[in-house]
């Protein structure tokens, strides 16, 4: 943990550079940043699990913030940089969780256990929702209709932002975020049609 590989440092430098460049821009799709953050989150999760095997499952939000500290660290990139970072991180986290759920599904349903990399099998970040795959699908539908709603869910849900932080990150008023959020929750619940909706 204390020893950081050259690869880690390289990643950190690239992130810092991208954030610097993005500082004046809008919150972007995060294409440039996404792979870096994705890698960092995975390697972080592995390192953490190796250390505290069996004790605790990992928490998605914790990982996202730790990734921020490791990649960006002392050089705080300002709010724009942070928005950029967390936007990408939320997306990366969502992707990791979906992959993890897919893998677990394969294992559960008799998939070939031997084919799964042991390290990746251990990478059990706590899924924030029981059925992450269904959620992801529903979310994708929603995003297509209204991309902003997708961003709200990504930040609120996958990066663990509060309503206030989400509002700041998307430059919306708190009221807007709160109102949209109640709609999103109702809409997604309805879409997922959980047990008691009949």
């Amino acid at each position: 943990m204390t020893e950081r590989s050259e690869k880690d440092r390289e990643r950190s430098r690239n992130v810092t550079r991208i954030l610097d460049e993005s500082c004046s821009g809008e919150l972007q799709s995060g294409q440039d940043l996404l792979p870096l953050v994705y890698e960092e989150l995975r390697s972080l999760a592995r390192a953490r699990l190796a250390r505290q095997r069996g004790e605790q499952t990992l928490q998605a939000t914790g990982l996202v913030h730790e990734a921020f500290l490791r990649l960006v660290g002392e050089k705080d990139p300002g709010w724009n940089g942070r928005r950029h970072f967390f936007g990408a991180a939320a997306l990366a986290m969502r992707r990791i969780l979906v992959e993890q759920a897919r893998r677990k599904g394969r294992v559960k349903h008799g998939g070939n256990r031997d084919r799964v990399d042991m390290e990746d099998a251990d990478l059990s970040i706590l899924p924030p929702h029981e059925d992450i795959l269904a959620l992801d699908e529903a979310l994708t539908t929603l995003e297509k209709k209204d991309p902003r709603k997708g961003k709200i869910v990504n930040l609120r849900y996958f990066a663990g932002f509060t309503a206030e932080e989400t509002a700041q990150a998307l430059q919306l008023s708190l009221g807007t975020v709160e109102r949209e959020w109640r709609f999103i929750k109702a809409w997604l619940q309805e879409k997922l049609g959980d047990g008691d909706s009949r």
Partner: protein, 1032 residues
């Protein structure tokens, strides 16, 4: 995996925007009106209506659905159970009543011992639950003690089965104070009133030892109680349990730091390295809250803080002054803020200008020592404002301008001025507090005016010297003090109390700057005034302040340092007075500790001068006991620690340059340790103690340790002072000496050269003790380096420097100017010195009997003339030593011995009668004394007349030791009934002494007594009158 029905027609048929619009509008309506609304809006679109209705039905159903990941705990089955209906400990969760960055708050039902509804707050993960619970447990006792109607009780806390910390609190149904005020358009005065009760509640918590640490609107709620607003502060104890120490830089704190709103954070909280957060942090947050209540925005509002980096946010909180509330109002374009007060912007701005501005700004001070000391003081000031009484935070004129002036000039070079001014303001402030506590309003007002006068005066002084400050700060500091000293009696006419304190302060500031002679005058004046005040004060029914024993002690201790620096004949007496005053001060509260410390000093004093090696056996035990008793008796930051530290310093001084000097390492070391703990880090006493300790470590051969210590101190001093400043030069000089001791000459040379230059530039002549000490270091550098040629100039200058009055220094000089090839001479000098009372401690003057001195003297004279020419500057140093030793000897029975020493000195000093007139004349007076004792009066008269002529031909600098010598020669003339000559010298000497030392000084008093005696014997009693009066 179950594949959901993603192709349900209702989901795709309708435009999402339309669905949402209907949903939102309906959701805003009360449930019973929704049906009607949808009937109207979805006329003929049954499936659309059905869809929206189903969405609406979801609205209240599952609060935990999609709640942010971290709120849901680790992925364990138990985590999911913690929704409504779950049971945690004795509590059953009912419904979610709030959620935020911290976690979720549920309304819960407690079953036993009483059935009641409570608020249960479950904290999101991200920190160590065990630690949080442990911290909460530690705080529990204190929380239980809080019992205040405006504080929501914290009932319980623990960890849920899924390992998340939770807190159980009194259930408060209310809105935030800001929301309450704005929604009800509360006028300013009602806002202030409401806020004052918040302060009182916080005060209650502080008294029980609980700091909130997270005061913000959402934690200060207003509920209606019998139709009246009632404040409820929630979350006491929660923040402390949740925040790990900032230095640990845990994920959580970092997360809070960069995501959380720092708007309510005090500068010391914003500074991540800050360790101690105290009650004044809450005062700051209260200030932010009041600011927001008045202006509708926090001092650094979101727009200012967003879009900048974390470091920038920290910097702003630490450094930038927010706009005054009135200015914020008058510069904002938003008229609705004033409307919430029921006013227009201009009226609201006027309403806030003045008192309210100052009250808010005082609470928001960056330096917490400048904020209100307590929440009730804050509340009191608001009440005072509402009653139209003068507020503590004002009158702002001078104090405010001064503070701003200092803020603007907070560069390192200002440390000395800051100390002096802080002392002056501090003392007036302290006393004002005292008076106000006595509810003596008249006196308070009168003295508040005095404060203004004092500050205005200081300001004008500062303005006067302002242009030079940046150029030559040290000189300017002295200039400021000189000016203050000069004007003090004029400005504080009729305010003896203030004058005494100002003079005491100036005296102490001069002391810190090594301006000993100026310090002495001011300190003596302060002492004189203080004695008068204390006499009158007892009879004063108004309860005018007297000098406390602590203040008296401070003046006396400074005077002690100064007196030893100047080698005053009464230095020892003053040190005893200071010591007694210090012990008396401690004894007022802790008699046993005072007794122990007193015994320590007595013990050291008793053994220090003895040459017996076991004379100080047992001192370690007494010392250790004094230390441990002090620690068990005095709390951190108790002002009495200063006296304890000084007592140990005194112990160190007592053994310094004695056979037992190794003990001073412990004594100085302990004093330093105490000062480091109890004084502000840049306090000049700390550097002074380090210089002492390093000096002794050098002597004890612990150069490496000495070097580390002094280098650290220099680094610290550099942060405060500019390069080449006096305190740095002093410390570098000691560092140079340390390097010389280690044989690192080449390294030492540039350091000593530059510090020597700086010291010479600061002190007026080569005779000041700092200059002499520095010269000695130059001499030893080149001496030990084996470069006598480079060192010769310094050596000669040292030998001739007239460190006459300071025998300790003179002796050090003599030891310094000889090289190892002259070791014989050094050995003899050592022995003579020991016989003449060691280093001729002032108290032993004129009392030493040394019958075995004669053969040694012969040896000395022989070696001296063998090694040194009479005109060698080093011979002059020896001649001066001889006069000093002769002064130490008891005259009775030793007249001849004294004369023998005087004759040798005369031989050397006679070569330049003009330059050494006073020394030479004094030497000759010893010869005359001998003749008189032998009954050879006429011969004695002839000799003393010669001394008189030499004195008249010479042109001695009018310093005090010259004055004292002139008085001594006058006394010899008086003994021989040469009245007119005696009169001339006594008058001349008295004048010098009075000017240099002040009327009250012992030496000046001695001169006046001699004058009275002279005129009585002379048959001119009338002339004695002026001297008699002042003698009384």
């Amino acid at each position: 995996m179950i594949v959901r029905d993603l192709s349900s027609p209702t989901m795709t048929e309708y435009d999402l925007n339309r669905v949402e619009k209907l949903f939102q509008e309906a959701a805003d309506l009360p449930a019973e009106e929704r049906k009607k609304f949808l009937d109207r809006e979805c006329d003929g679109e049954a499936s659309l209506r059905d869809h929206v209705e189903r969405l609406l039905a979801r609205l209240e159903r599952d609060a935990s659905f999609l709640s942010p990941v971290s709120d849901r705990g680790p992925f364990l089955a138990a985590a999911i159970a913690e929704g409504p209906g779950a049971v945690i400990g004795r509590y059953k969760l009912l419904q979610v009543i709030g959620e935020g960055g911290f976690g979720v708050v549920y309304m819960a039902e407690q079953q036993e011992p009483v059935v009641r509804k409570v608020a249960l707050k479950i904290i999101k993960l991200g920190m160590d639950t065990k630690e949080v619970v442990a911290r909460f447990e530690a705080e529990r006792q204190a929380l239980a003690l809080m019992d205040h109607p405006n504080i929501a009780q914290v009932h319980d806390g623990g960890a849920t089965d899924s390992g998340r910390p939770y807190f159980v609190m009194e259930l408060v149904r209310g809105v935030s104070i800001t929301e309450y005020c704005d929604k009800n358009s509360l006028p300013t005065v009602e806002r202030l009133d409401l806020f004052a009760s918040v302060c009182q509640a916080v005060q209650h918590a502080h008294q029980k030892g609980v700091i909130h640490r997270d005061i913000k609107p959402s934690n200060v709620l207003v509920t209606l109680h019998d139709g009246l607003p009632l404040i409820k502060i929630i979350d006491f104890g929660v923040a402390k349990a949740m925040h790990t120490r900032l230095t640990e830089k845990t994920l959580f704190t970092r997360y809070e730091q960069f995501i959380g709103t720092p708007a309510y954070m005090s500068p010391e909280q914003a500074e991540m390295s800050a360790l101690d957060v105290d009650t004044r942090t809450d005062i700051y947050s209260l200030g932010v809250l009041l600011y927001e209540l008045l202006t509708g925005a926090t001092p650094f509002h979101a727009a200012q803080i967003d879009g900048v980096g974390l470091l920038e946010i920290q910097r702003r909180i630490r450094e930038e002054s927010p706009l005054r509330p009135s200015l914020r109002i008058s510069t904002t374009a938003d008229a609705t803020i004033a409307q919430t007060h029921g006013l227009d912007s201009a009226s609201l701005s006027r309403r806030l200008r003045g008192d309210v501005d100052w009250i808010v700004m005082k609470a928001l001070e960056k330096e917490r020592s400048r904020r209100y000391a307590t929440a009730s003081e804050f509340a009191e000031d608001i009440r005072r404002h509402m009653k139209k009484e003068p507020v503590l935070a004002g009158p702002p004129g001078a104090a405010y301008r001064l503070r701003k002036f200092l803020d603007r000039n907070r560069t390192p070079v200002f440390s000395a001025i800051l100390i002096a001014i802080a002392l002056i303001i501090g003392m007036i402030g302290t006393w004002l507090g005292k008076v106000q506590a006595d509810h003596n309003a008249n006196l308070a007002r009168e003295e508040a005016q005095l404060t203004t006068v004092a500050l205005d005066f200081l300001l004008s002084t500062l303005a006067l010297s302002n242009p030079n400050i940046a150029l030559n700060p040290e000189v300017t500091m002295v200039t400021v003090l000189d000016h203050t000293a000069e004007k003090a009696s004029e400005v504080f006419a009729g305010q003896a109390w203030a004058e005494a304190r100002i003079r005491g302060t100036i005296g102490r500031a001069y002391t810190a700057l090594s301006e000993s002679e100026k310090a002495e005058i001011q300190l003596n004046l302060a002492l004189e005034l203080a004695e008068k005040i204390n006499q009158n004060g007892r009879a004063n029914i108004l309860g005018r302040p007297t000098f406390s024993s602590f203040e008296l002690y401070q003046v006396l201790w400074a005077l002690t340092n100064v007196s030893f620096n100047l080698d005053r004949s009464n230095a020892f007496e003053i040190s005893k007075r200071a010591h007694n005053a210090g012990m008396a001060c401690i004894a007022e509260q802790h008699p046993e500790l005072a007794e122990l410390l007193g015994n320590f000093v007595k013990f050291v004093e008793g053994g220090a001068w003895s040459v017996a090696p076991d004379a100080l056996d047992g001192v370690e035990e007494i010392f250790a006991e004094s230390v441990s008793r002090s620690r068990s008796t005095l709390a951190h930051k108790d002002p009495l620690w200063a006296i304890v530290a000084d007592t140990f310093l005194a112990g160190g001084y007592l053994v310094w340059y004695t056979p037992h000097e190794h003990h001073s390492e412990d004594f100085f070391g302990m004093a330093l340790q105490i000062q480091r703990k109890e004084l502000p880090p840049d306090h000049p006493d700390i550097a002074a103690s380090v210089v002492l300790l390093v000096g002794i470590l050098n002597n004890l051969g612990k150069e490496k340790q000495a070097e580390d210590l002094i280098r650290d101190t220099i680094t610290a001093l550099r942060r405060v002072h500019r390069e080449g400043a006096f305190p740095i030069a002093k410390a570098e000089s000691v560092l140079g000496a340390t390097l010389v001791k280690q044989g690192r000459f080449a390294e030492a040379e540039p350091i000593l050269q530059s510090s020597h230059k700086a010291i010479l530039a600061m002190t007026e002549s080569t005779s000041s003790w700092m200059a002499v000490e520095s010269l000695m270091r130059m001499v030893s550098l080149y001496g030990e380096w084996g470069k006598p040629e480079e060192g010769r100039l310094y050596r000669d200058s040292l030998a001739q420097s007239s460190a006459y009055g300071n025998f300790i220094m003179q002796w050090k000089v003599a030891r310094n100017i000889f090289s190892t090839s002259e070791q014989v001479l050094i050995n003899i000098l050592d022995q003579v010195n020991t016989l003449c009372g060691g280093i001729a401690f002032p108290a032993s003057r004129g009392t030493i009997e040394a019958p075995e001195l004669t053969p040694l003297l012969e040896q000395l004279f022989a070696e001296r003339s063998r090694l040194l020419a009479d005109e060698d500057p080093r011979s002059i140093a020896i001649a001066r030593l001889l006069i000093g030793w002769a002064n130490a000897l008891k005259p009775e029975g030793q007249y001849e011995l004294r004369a023998r020493m005087a004759k040798e000195a005369q031989k050397i000093l006679g070569l330049n009668r003009k330059a050494h007139s006073v020394d030479l004349a004094e030497a000759i007076s010893f010869i005359a004394d001998m003749k008189r004792a032998e009954g050879k009066t006429s011969e004695a008269r002839k000799i003393i007349r010669e001394a008189f002529r030499i004195l008249q031909a010479g042109d001695p600098s009018p310093n005090w030791f010259m004055g004292a010598a002139i008085v001594r020669i006058g006394r010899s003339l008086l003994e021989l009934q040469l009245y007119s000559e005696s009169e001339e010298l006594l008058l001349r000497g008295e004048k010098i002494l009075e000017a240099q030392l002040g009327m009250t000084h012992n030496d000046a008093a001695v001169a006046r007594e001699l004058l009275v005696r002279l005129y009585a014997e002379w048959g001119k009693p009338d002339l004695a009158e002026p001297f008699k009066q002042t003698t009384e």
